[in-house]
Symmetry: C2
Amino acid sequence: MLSTTPRTTLGRKKHRAVTDRSALHAVLDEGLICHLGIVRDGAPLVLPTGYGRDGDTLYLHGSTGASSLRTASRDLDVCVTVTLLDGIVYSRSVNNHSMNYRSAVIFGKAKPVVDPEAKMHGLKVLTDHLAPGSWEHAREVNAKEFAAVSVLSLDLAEASVKVRAEGPDDEPEDLDADAAWAGVLPVRTVFGTPEPSTDLSPGWQVPAHVTGRE
Amino acid sequence: MLSTTPRTTLGRKKHRAVTDRSALHAVLDEGLICHLGIVRDGAPLVLPTGYGRDGDTLYLHGSTGASSLRTASRDLDVCVTVTLLDGIVYSRSVNNHSMNYRSAVIFGKAKPVVDPEAKMHGLKVLTDHLAPGSWEHAREVNAKEFAAVSVLSLDLAEASVKVRAEGPDDEPEDLDADAAWAGVLPVRTVFGTPEPSTDLSPGWQVPAHVTGRE
């Protein structure tokens, strides 16, 4: 079960809350980027960044463009949000238009991963999420690169998942009036045809871990 | 030109910064949801929400699940981020793997839109973004709905845009080694086939503003 701290208990539309941990894992595993929120000089800052999950640990690249992250000498309060948009909900009234989505919101303290073995594991988890198969296919991280990169970890202890996955929710009078179309326009994220690098030497075929990605 | 306050000046990968206002508008117009960051009890909170743009004003639904937004008696410091993921960049080394993306980060104070005419305009802008054509097709907002909804506005005065739109950036030694495939796997957001509501009366065809959406 997911935690029920005050800030993970939904204040409205409680019926959209999903409280099993497998739902959290599923949203995180399907998403490609997260939005990482921190407080900088008292103001919010939200940056997109890659991530990866292993069990109930989320790994984040420490070099996300926020100097606050890179220079954090102590653990940093973060909110990490992953949103999967599944559809646009067209209702019979403008007011009931909505979106179908699955979102995960995680609160916690992001900690720099210092131990070399744990850090290398974090890099593998990040790579496996961004580009499954690349850890085995591409050139491994060398000592210089390893020293330059930073990895943060975040426990998935305090998290909430919210899901809307249904058709329009119209008012009885709008159903009676029957004056507008209602339904869902699905939204999906898809991969296109791989584009080999212009400097790739002849003879390379696109490897299976790229062509087979879904 | 976009502003160059300290917090919109990129601390790293400066070459990814795009400084013309049309690039900001293009990212905002193509995105479907934003991630809205606020500070609540000193900690960051990031929530997905719909938005719409008119000129250099961004409109947000005030009822996004964050009670902090609904009860804000004064202007609220926010960071709004919209990210379009365009591709996974497979490099010859694990370390140079990356993503192609376009992202916009906006800082400012979200203000409740109180004037009825301005608020109705904000609702139209939000609807036009979420579901173009629905403002004309669906039943208009009635007085009760209008009173219950809240709209926030945010000036696009302080914003930055970051773009990566290129192939792998590999090390010379990895190019020489020629030991891994390199290229980009495009990522796109697409609409599927419209799914009429199960309670839709027979005879309705999917209207053009839904079928024609791209």
